[in-house]
Amino acid sequence: MITLATAARILRQLRHDRRTVGLLIVVPAALLALLYFMYDGAPAFDRVALVMLGVFPFVIMFLVTSIAMLRERTSGTLERLLTTPLRKLDLLFGYGLAFGLAGAVQALVAVAAAHWLFGLETPAGSVLVAVVDAVLGMALGLLCSAFARTEFQAVQFIPVVVAPQLFLCGLFVPRDEMAGWLQAVSDVLPLTYAVKALAAATVWRDLAVVAGAAVLALILAAATLRRRTG
């Protein structure tokens, strides 16, 4: 119950911020359009755009969630919530539900644009993979916000968390052409599996890995929430 009330509260906050809602929905589709015109019919577009369907929701939700959670901390609402009957997981799953839903809308729009406007061959599970990617970004955002005291620090976590995953996911250099140790690093980064799920046939196993990483990040985030502080 409290989880649902928390999710509803977060969605109400979003609703009051129309510009953010607009940006959330439009930006991934607009970036896909940019890629489409950039590649100008070259076959590489299909491969890159497919990967981006997974990367955009991940990055955007990571950013939105880490800022949202940081606001809870700095405004004192987090400390206040932790003095109420709310359980830590109520808060985290509340965020998960609310931003998962926002991510679903975003993914639907992006996949629909890719499919119908830009003629991309989108596998059947694309929307689901994109939503799970959004949830992963959100979960990592919640976790990282625990280590950020200021907005400046929170923003610095974007390159730290996102860039290595993007570089090593196989988009720029195929994974089997990388040095062994880079492959090993790539193997433990969840975004690798998100990209694999979009590109290959083994969707369910890769999707399960991504979802598992998201749940793990949520549990770790719960462990970093302290009711008592110095």
């Binding site: 003095t83 109420t84 008592r228």
Partner: protein, 237 residues
């Protein structure tokens, strides 16, 4: 139960500095206790220890018979932080309804709490668009919804005009008459006279723990501000 809160030999460090030195005091049930002292004296740290969000070094804090911060107390202790902690991008009513849901109360309870703090006409405004005084009343409303047995208010009257301040104090006494225990911190001395009991704290040490009349008598003056200055001078002498 005579005492809603019992603090025994409480020591709190923040960083390398000791903020509270061996505080021992009792807060009687159904009273309004004022926590007074200059800024930086440790008022908020004592309040946070009572609410159970402060890491303490030694000593005990017992609230309504349980150790401070016990999960059962989260239903019975209301806490209003110094900076109004409401969601600035939600309306007053949406804020109140969320806190009502956290305490398993209804939307009607949320409306009642808003009316009680005099925000009935502003209930659909975003909290971020309210004046400072209105926002801290919105924050107070969110704490009233759960009908707490202990209500801890950190400087609730800052930024309120004199009429509203009088209204708030009348409300505090009405709550106390109904059995709620209130702890109200303030650095405004003219509010001290409205409390049943006063804790005066300075540099992390308790300087006085008495009803206002006893403090006036001890210092030999009717003016509480003057009385505090006298007590502080005696304590540091």
């Amino acid at each position: 139960m005579d005492h809603a809160v019992e603090v025994r030999n409480l020591v709190v460090d923040r960083g390398k500095r000791t903020v509270l030195h061996d505080i021992t005091c009792d807060i009687p049930t159904g009273s309004v206790t004022g926590l007074l002292g200059p800024s930086g004296s440790g008022k908020t740290t004592l309040i946070r220890s009572i609410v159970g969000v402060q890491v303490i070094k030694s000593g005990t804090v017992t609230v309504l018979g349980s150790p401070a911060g016990e999960s059962a107390l989260r239903r019975t202790v209301g806490y209003v932080t110094q900076a109004p902690s409401v969601y600035s991008d939600l309306s007053v009513l949406e804020n109140a309804r969320y806190f009502a849901a956290l305490h398993h109360r209804t939307a009607a309870d949320a409306e009642r709490a808003i009316t009680d703090v005099g925000l009935g006409t502003a209930k659909n405004q975003l909290a971020g668009n309210l004046s400072g005084g209105q926002r801290s009343r919105a924050s107070l409303a969110c704490a009233l919804i759960g009908d707490p047995k202990l209500l801890v208010l950190d400087e609730p009257t800052v930024g309120q005009d004199p009429i509203l301040r009088a209204d708030l104090w009348a409300q505090f006494h009405a709550l106390a008459a109904a059995g709620t225990t209130l702890i109200v911190s303030s650095h405004v001395m003219d509010e001290a006279g409205r409390c049943d009991r006063l804790l005066l704290i300075r540099e992390g040490r308790l300087v006085a723990d008495d009803p206002p009349a006893a403090i006036r008598a001890a210092a030999g003056t009717d003016d509480l501000e003057q009385a505090f200055l006298t007590l502080i001078k005696e304590a540091s002498a």
